[in-house]
Every structure is written in C-alpha cells, then in structure tokens.
Symmetry: C2
Subunit: 478 residues, 2 copies
Amino acid sequence: MAKEKKVEQITDMETDFAQWYTDICRKAELVEYASVKGFTILRPYGFAIWENMQQIMDGEFKKTGHVNVAMPVLIPESLLKKEGELVNGFAPEVAWVTMGGSEPLEERLAFRPTSETMFCDHWSRVLHSYRELPMLYNQWCSVIRWEKTTRPFLRSREFWWQEGHTIHETAEEAQAETEQQLNCYADFFENVLAIPVVRGRKTDKEKFAGAEATYTVECLMKDHKALQGATSHYFGDKFSRAYDVTFTGRDNKLQYPFQTSWGSTTRMIGAVIMAHGDNNGLVLPPKIAPIQVIVVPIAAHKPGVSEKAQELLDQIKALGIRAQADFSDNSMGWKCAQYEMKGVPVRLELGPRDIENNVCVAVRRDNGEKVQVSLEELEIAIPALLDAVQQGLYDAAKKNLEEHIYAAKSIEEAKQLQAEHGGFIKTMWCGDEACELKMKEEGGMSSRCIPFRQEQLSEVCACCGKPAKHMIYWGVAY
Amino acid sequence: MAKEKKVEQITDMETDFAQWYTDICRKAELVEYASVKGFTILRPYGFAIWENMQQIMDGEFKKTGHVNVAMPVLIPESLLKKEGELVNGFAPEVAWVTMGGSEPLEERLAFRPTSETMFCDHWSRVLHSYRELPMLYNQWCSVIRWEKTTRPFLRSREFWWQEGHTIHETAEEAQAETEQQLNCYADFFENVLAIPVVRGRKTDKEKFAGAEATYTVECLMKDHKALQGATSHYFGDKFSRAYDVTFTGRDNKLQYPFQTSWGSTTRMIGAVIMAHGDNNGLVLPPKIAPIQVIVVPIAAHKPGVSEKAQELLDQIKALGIRAQADFSDNSMGWKCAQYEMKGVPVRLELGPRDIENNVCVAVRRDNGEKVQVSLEELEIAIPALLDAVQQGLYDAAKKNLEEHIYAAKSIEEAKQLQAEHGGFIKTMWCGDEACELKMKEEGGMSSRCIPFRQEQLSEVCACCGKPAKHMIYWGVAY
C-alpha cells in the first residue's frame, strides 16, 4: 500500500483551454463538485487562497474606515421588489425559500443575490443625523444566483464574495468612495494577484441593475479572453428614496443619503488560474500562495539530510514565509510535479552534495529558473526570490495585455482582429446602445468598459459612422 | 443641530433580566432586528466582537492542523435523509428552497441546519487511503434553524458559527479529537471570554442528533441560569456507513473512518453579555473588546489638551492596543456613559491638570476603580490594567459559579434550591431517561451535563432511589 499517488496529467492549454482550466481546478484540489447541481465545494487548498485574498483586502478596506457587518441571508419578496430595476435584474436568478420547518411561509424569501435591499432597510431604521454619515459597511458571505450554465469560480450558483455598501451625505462623497474602492480593487489585482487591469466605466447596457454608474477593472486571460475583475457602483439617492432612508441634514431638513456598493468574488481565483497557469498546472503569485516555499530533500535517507532540511524549513518560516517540507517517501519526480501542479512559487532542493557545499537549489515556478542559494544568505535570497516571482508574473501578464489591444475602425475589422488575435479591440463609439448591440450581433463581442484613459482613435463611431463620444474596449468575456 | 445624542437608560438587571439583556443588545448597538421575523443583523460593534473571537479561535484550530473549507449552503433532501437520527432531529427546523429562478425544483433543498451530511458526501468522493487521514476540516458560516421563539444571539433563525468536521483512521483518534476540541473551547471560554466552565458529557436525551456522545462546556450567567457554551460530538462510524465514506486501510481492506464534529456560535456573545454585564451596560473582556482603551480629553478646548490626548492615543496604539479617542463636543458625562454602555475595558481621562502633573486617570470598566497613571509608565501600566480587567472579570464569574453549585438528595430539594438560589444543582443519578424526564417535569430543570470531575454525593439516584451511576448537573438553561 505504500504505492505512490499518481500526479495526473492535465490537458494542454493550447489543445483545449476550457478543459485545461477545469483540470487545474480539480487536480490542484481547489474545488470539487457538490451533489447539488451547479454548486461547488471550496477545498482546503482553494479556500486557503481565498483566505489570503480576504485577509489582504479586508485590511485595505479597514484602513479607509470600513467596518464589517452581517446581514440576514433571506430577503422578503416585498422588500426585494421595492426598487424595480434591481428586482428585474435579479428575479430570474433568485432561489426562493417557501417553507420554514413544516409550514409554508406567508411570504416567500429570497436567498440574497446581493444585499442592497437589506442594507437600505437597515439604514432606514438606524440612520438619524448627518453626524452618523458616512456609514461604510462591508460583509463577507456567499450569495446565490441560479445560473443555467456554471464553471468553477467563474460562474456557480453559490459563490463567496465581499459586498461593500456605503451611504454618504453628499453625491460627491459617494462618487469619491466609488472611485476609491475601484482603485482599491485595481491595486489588489496588480500588486497582489499580479494581474494588470484596465480601469473604466461600464456602458448603460452593462451596468449593475439599478446603478447610475458602474465602474470596473477588466483583465485579460492567457487565451486572450476578457474577464471582469471587480466592480464598484454609484447609486445616487435612488435606493434611498425607494427604501425611505433619510437623515436630518446640516440645514435641519430631511435628506436622502447617496449610496455606493462594490464587490469582488471567488471568481478572482479563476482569474489567477487563467492569467498565470501553464501546462504543468497552477502558478500562484507569492502574496496569495498558501505555500510560498516547498522544501524537498534529496536522498533524505542519507545521514543528516532530513535534519538539515528541517533546519532550512525552520529558518525560512522564521522569516514569516509560509513554507512546508515534504519528507514523504514519494519520488523526487512525483514531488516536483505535485508542487508544480499546486503552483508553489519556489521549490528548494537540498541533497547531500548541497549540504557539503553549504547551498540549496531554488527553482522558480514561474519560469523554471534554477539558482544556487548559499545557506548563509537565505534571509535575503528567499524573500528576494519571492519578490522576483511576483514581479515576473506581473510583467508577463502585462506583456500579454499590452500585446493584445488592437485598434479597429469598423465592426468588420474589429471582428477580424478578435478572430485572429483575441484580446481587447478598441474603437470609437457614439454612445448608442444600438451600436453596442450591433457589435454584439455582428462582431460577437460585448463592451468591456469605457477606459478612464481615453484615446482619440478617430472622429467617428466604428459601428455607425456618427460622431464619436468615447473610446471603448470590446472583447469576448468570461 | 449640534444637540448631543442621549445615552438611553437601560432596565436594571434586578428588575427584569430579560429586558436588561435585550436593552444591552440594542443600546450597545450589537444587533438590530431585521425585517424578516426571527432574524437579526450583526451591527459593526457586534460583528467586531465576533471577528475578534473568530481570529483567536481560528488561530487555535490551525495550530492543531485544522484547515478551513466552504461547503454549499443548500443540501438536497435525499442527502439530508440518509442518516435517520440527524434528519429527525433537524427536520422540524429546516428552511426549504423550492424554487430556483422561476422554476420549481425537482427536489427541494434544505438551507443547512448543520453540515455533517455535506462533509460526508464530499468525503465519500475524495477519500481513498489511510494516508490521507485524518481530514481536519472547519468552516465559518451561517446556518438556519426555524425556531419558534427567538432572542438576539441566544436563539435566532439564522446564526453565525464555526462547524468543525473531522474523520480519522481509528476510533481512538476520533475520540481524542473530540476531547481536544472540547478543551480548546473550555480554554477559549476561560482565558479569552473570562467565563469559567463545567466540562462534561451530555446525557443521551440531550446529545446531538445522531451522535454517539456529545461533550459540552456549560457556564453560569449572572441571573444564575445555565448556558451551553459549545459542544463537541463523537459519531463513531455511523455517518461513514450511512454515507458510504470508505478508505483503503493499512491492511489493504476497505474501512469506514471515525468521525467528529464540534461547533461554537454567536451565542457566545450572549454569554459574554450575561456573564459580565451590569446596569451601566456591556462589560467586555479586553481580549475580545473592539475598543480596549478609550481616551477622553477633559476640557479639550484648552491649549495643548487635544494634542496631548492624541499623543497619548498614538503611544497606546503603538503598543498594539486597540484604542480610540473621543474628540467630539459631547459632554464628559455623555462620553463616560456611552463607553460604559459599550463595555470598553479601560477609559483614560486627560485634562489640563493631569498634563501639568504628567499623568492621566485610568478608570476600569469592571469595578469602576480609578488610578492615576504616570505618562512615563504607560507601556507597562496600560497592558497591566487590561490584564487586571481580564482577570477581574474571570475571578468574579468564577466566584458566581462556585457560589451557585448546590448538592441535593431529592427532586424536591433540588427544586427548592433552584427556586431559592438558581445555579447548578448537583445530584446522583441512575442514568435512566425516566428520571431525567421526571426532574424536568417535577423539578423544572434539564440535565446540563455529567461533569468529567465526578463526586460521590451518595449511593443512590436523587430521583428514584436506585443505585446511582453518575453525578449530574441540573439547571434552568438558556
């Protein structure tokens, strides 16, 4: 029974990107399907990645004064329906609780698809004065949206997320919050997930149900498809009015506060897989890797090797690095394949000859580079290596993004560029939804965002030839 | 409009303990009722307490090798029904999802009341070999139990908890896990929540649905009623068999693993309120207090006072202490009452005369003691004060517990002692459920636990006079 577990092969990404993705999700033990259709289980390794993401994000939210709360998971139908656009946007995807114990409920209850309604209902009861504003709330929870087709992390009926909800005295403050949180997401994607993003505004067609404006960070995967990273919404006082949230203002009159919400989900794990992974498996940015360094002893049965490997491990852990050692009797080949599959950023190999020379061999997961590291210099060398992997991943993803943005002057050209190269196709746009629909139908692409950094590609809309208002990015999206 | 907010009075605990409790929950801004009957909202201050509890517990769980996961929130009815005792125990309290979007579901789905079934279902698909054991899983989430009557934290239809679920190669290992986790809870109650506990085993009548044995930590509130703190369950291989969880053992044969689960909930916040609170409001143990020290400047408009208070705050925060200062123009009286209501362990007052003398005045929330602290000695004095409050709360709660344990020789005597003093009534017991029911009907008390530390009070059962098997604790419980 001491037979070693096989590291199973995964499909090449060039052969079948979708299958490659699913293979990694399963074989790196991130998720498993549940017995309820469309639902997934976050396994320990997958959840540990999410925990690392949570910890960093939560810290950033708190730095800017946000506090966490817990709202009920069930929303009465009547409450959900008070704001028409929101309910129209989400109604087709709601899971309904209709029985409590053995009795049918008088009113059915929605499993939250998003919690704007609950926050507004709460605020309508606790807010009194401008002195209590802003209220900067956030919650970490799961939501349900009854999707027809699902894929691990990218689209599942239940997913885990954070939803920030804030109210402010003035429109300007709420708008500033919306921007601040979008930038918080952008920084997280770029500095933590090592994924460069395009920041911009969604078109009216693509914005959140009920929002006045939705801002987004958009990123590009290795197959050159686009993925919406995280979004931030400005509601004006629309929900405040619908839910009767009021406060006594500085002028002693009743006023409606201005509102925002912003969310990011476990789909970010999917983004990491598709932005950095390769044909050997997952590749994790060190900042979110559950294991940042794996120590693998060579010929561990030889005298002194295990002891020295343990010493090495202790030294690295003392630096505050998440490290493990594999002392199992599995083969070296198996171990290398296993930790590559799991995307561990740095592997340290240590054998009898290395010990003689007072060195170990470090192997980078991102580019396979091997370097000898003196055991005297671990304190500087290992953190530097982790930084190098983090930067290396970002640089490669940045290159992928920059090399796959193409300018087009017509739907035809846009379609052809997309078919040939994928990526973001940028065009000028008149701002009419009709042209957006036309690009979807004829060009097969949805609008991704109107980037904050505008360029003047031409004077006219690529779809209709009328005067252009914006430069817009199009893409085929997850 | 600069009118200051009132600190509202709360009911005295001697007048109406239940109302006192509810008043604290609301006026200390821990919870608010939601628009769904029986559901509550954890407000920022209440949730911050829960976050502090979570962080400490989660760290302890991880020290002993436990990892976090996320299981789906919905359980198919057929899956829930595979283990008869469990489903019988929970069926009357289950909330059912019967609609997904606009379509009725083929099979209704239970909102998890507890997740043994999901963990077993998952393990039945991923477990192969004894080499993968033990699997030591935990998840932080909310559950729903459709209770008829509810009270904030103590009994609500949705509550937040952690549920640990583990499987092991042998019965001995699973039993050791059950014990280890019970001790982990006991240590948490005593060292973190400053609440002494009685550790013991639940009777068969009171044990968890489907468990072979349930262990519990029981504590005593200020009204001398009992409260079950947290529980740990041993399942043997009963669920493994029901859900077909198997592994290839060392003997190369298929075996069933042995299982445990253990849980603790937001009801611990209720325990803290009722174990430590007083007629001025909440009293929080420093280890879980969102604000450990509040700095209140006196005559802050006078030159140098605000600056010095800010300096004091910065010094304290630099010690890693959670501190805030209140520079608002509310009165000193309002501020004192406000932070007493919120249970802040230490208040530091600093006025012009204090600054002259290079001191501040520290006021302990637990006993109202005031001491002068030299501004030169903050680094030692403030942490020492926090330790003293933590210990003071524990000592008082310990005294309350020890002074309210009474021995009785008959149901009549037990009933009378309970009526006069409350607390735990200890008697000998034959082990028959009939006697347990009799104590409930005639004595008005439920069995709390069979303490691990047994005493030989007499030879015979207090209820029936037959030979006694155990000493047991009875009480009126939340």
